[in-house]
């Protein structure tokens, strides 16, 4: 579960520069704001330079339900996720190897 106080604050498009120039606003009560520009997200702070550093974020996106994607529409997944999905599904369908029985005349097992 995410902590609401840790969530970054969305800034309406075009107001990013204004926020940065207003000293009282720019800190946003110590929290981090962000603006979406096309496929990029710009944050109001240099997160990797902060202490503690923030080098990764978790992003939630609203996308179409996967069941509504046609066979040929690009899915909203990264290359890593695609590889992970393929390997996981293959494991689901791959037959399990039957372990050979142990032949050991000295063993008590029958």
């Amino acid at each position: 579960m995410s902590n609401a106080f840790e969530d970054f604050i969305p800034i309406p498009s075009g107001q990013f520069a204004m926020v940065l120039t207003q000293r009282l606003m720019s800190d946003i009560l110590g929290q981090v704001g962000y603006e979406v520009r096309g496929k990029e997200v710009i944050y109001t702070k240099d997160l990797p330079a902060q202490s503690p550093a923030v080098n990764y974020v978790s992003i939630q996106l609203i996308v179409m339900d996967f069941s509504q994607y046609s066979d040929y529409e690009l899915l909203p997944i990264t290359a890593d996720q695609e590889a992970d999905i393929i390997e996981t599904v293959i494991k689901m369908f791959a037959p399990e190897q039957v372990q050979p029985g142990i032949v050991d005349s000295t063993s008590d097992s029958k």
Partner: protein
């Protein structure tokens, strides 16, 4: 990014290459359903109906979560690239929520720590290096309660100024950067300094005589005894004589009764009977050689009764071989022995010989001495001069 068709085809192709009979029993629809399950699982798909947030959100939309999206510094701020394109909604609501991924810090491993006691006043402490440590905290204590930081680096630290017969505790930890790496646990070690050691005496030998020599040495103020060892070998592999002298101020000794013309080696250490200080190291003097001893003059040197050209000479032996190599007798025509007509060399321990005058008449003068061996003995003095007449 890819689509369902390609993903499903790839999976079926992989399964066929492993076991064709397996793929023949698997339908594409089955695989597609599995892909959807895994897709929803990996992206933690949430439906708005269940979140009761469906207002303003078109039907058929879900929330997906993408973890560990990188953030890079950029123009004094920072930015990320969206992992996928969200649906287009007013106010960029397609990007539903962004939260920082809490950094995870790992604890540094404790550095290795070892001690080497160098002396009563010095302990060398060696701290091993640890990856990702920005510094170290090497601390010393004598009671395990009060600690003093003595170094902030890895490597060997020479802890000088210590006190003898004291146990010192050392501990060290690696210092992390406080964010991704936290400080290590402490690693401990201990070392006890030995008793202080008395200063090594400086030894000097002097005044060799045929049967001894003198020895003197400097003495530590805390010493109350000395040990003198004498050997015929420079490496003291065989100790010929060991003396223990007590009392302060005993920094001198006279050896007597030794062999003449012999090289001796002497070493001295000083001691403390109160056991407050440990014995000094040996101070080693250079070699000293006793003087060669002078042989005794043969006694009762006399001439006998002439027989033909020969005059018998007799004496008593006062030395013995090997100290005496032989006897030397000079016969001259003057008492000053400037005109020596014969030098006789009877063997060692002999007591008589004859002077062959060759028929030359007149008064002859003779004297005798014992000849030394050249190593431990030197020649005796000449005897009194005797005279006899050859007729």
């Amino acid at each position: 990014m890819s689509n369902k068709k390609k993903i499903v085809e790839q999976i079926i192709r992989r399964l066929k290459s492993g076991d064709p009979s397996v793929a023949s029993n698997i339908h594409e629809m089955e695989v597609k359903e599995a892909v959807m399950q895994v897709l929803n699982s990996r992206l933690r798909t949430q439906y708005f109906e269940s979140l009761q947030l469906s207002e303003n959100i078109p039907d058929g939309c879900v929330i997906t979560t993408y973890d560990n999206v990188p953030v890079i510094s950029w123009n004094g701020v920072s930015k990320s690239t969206l992992p996928a394109i969200p649906v287009s909604l007013p106010k960029n609501m397609g990007v539903w929520r962004i939260t920082p991924v809490p950094y995870t810090s790992s604890q540094l491993s404790a550095p290795t720590l070892s001690c080497a006691v160098i002396s009563s006043t010095q302990i060398n402490v060696t701290v091993g290096s640890v990856s990702n440590a920005i510094a170290y905290s090497l601390e010393r204590s004598t009671d395990l309660n009060n600690w003093t930081v003595i170094s902030n680096t890895s490597g060997t630290f020479n802890d000088t100024g210590r006190t003898g017969v004291t146990t010192y505790y050392y501990r060290v930890k690696a210092i992390g950067n406080g964010t991704t790496y936290t400080d290590s646990n402490y690693r401990y070690t201990t070392a006890t300094t030995p008793k202080p050691q008395l200063a090594t005496p400086v030894v000097v030998c002097s005044n060799p005589t045929p049967d001894g020599f003198d020895i003197a040495w400097s003495e530590d103020a805390h010493a109350d005894g000395s040990v003198l060892e004498r050997s015929l070998f420079s490496d003291f592999s065989v100790i010929q004589d060991s003396l223990q002298l007590s009392g302060t101020g005993s920094g001198a000794w006279a050896y007597t009764g030794l062999a003449s013309g012999t090289t001796y080696y002497v070493r001295v250490k000083v001691t403390d009977s109160t056991n407050t200080y440990s014995d000094s190291n040996y101070g080693i003097a250079g070699s000293i050689t006793t003087l060669q001893s002078k042989l005794n003059v043969p006694g009762s040197f006399a001439s006998g009764v002439q027989s033909g050209a020969f005059m018998p000479l007799t004496w008593t032996d006062t030395n013995s071989s090997p100290n005496e190599s032989n006897i030397e007798i000079q016969v001259a025509t003057d008492s000053g022995f400037t005109n020596i007509v014969s030098t006789l060399t009877p063997g060692a321990d002999s007591t008589d010989t004859s002077f062959n005058s060759g028929g030359v008449t007149g008064t002859k003068y003779a004297r005798i001495r014992a000849k030394g061996n050249g190593t431990t003995t030197t020649d005796s003095d000449w005897s009194n001069t005797i005279s006899f007449v050859i007729t």
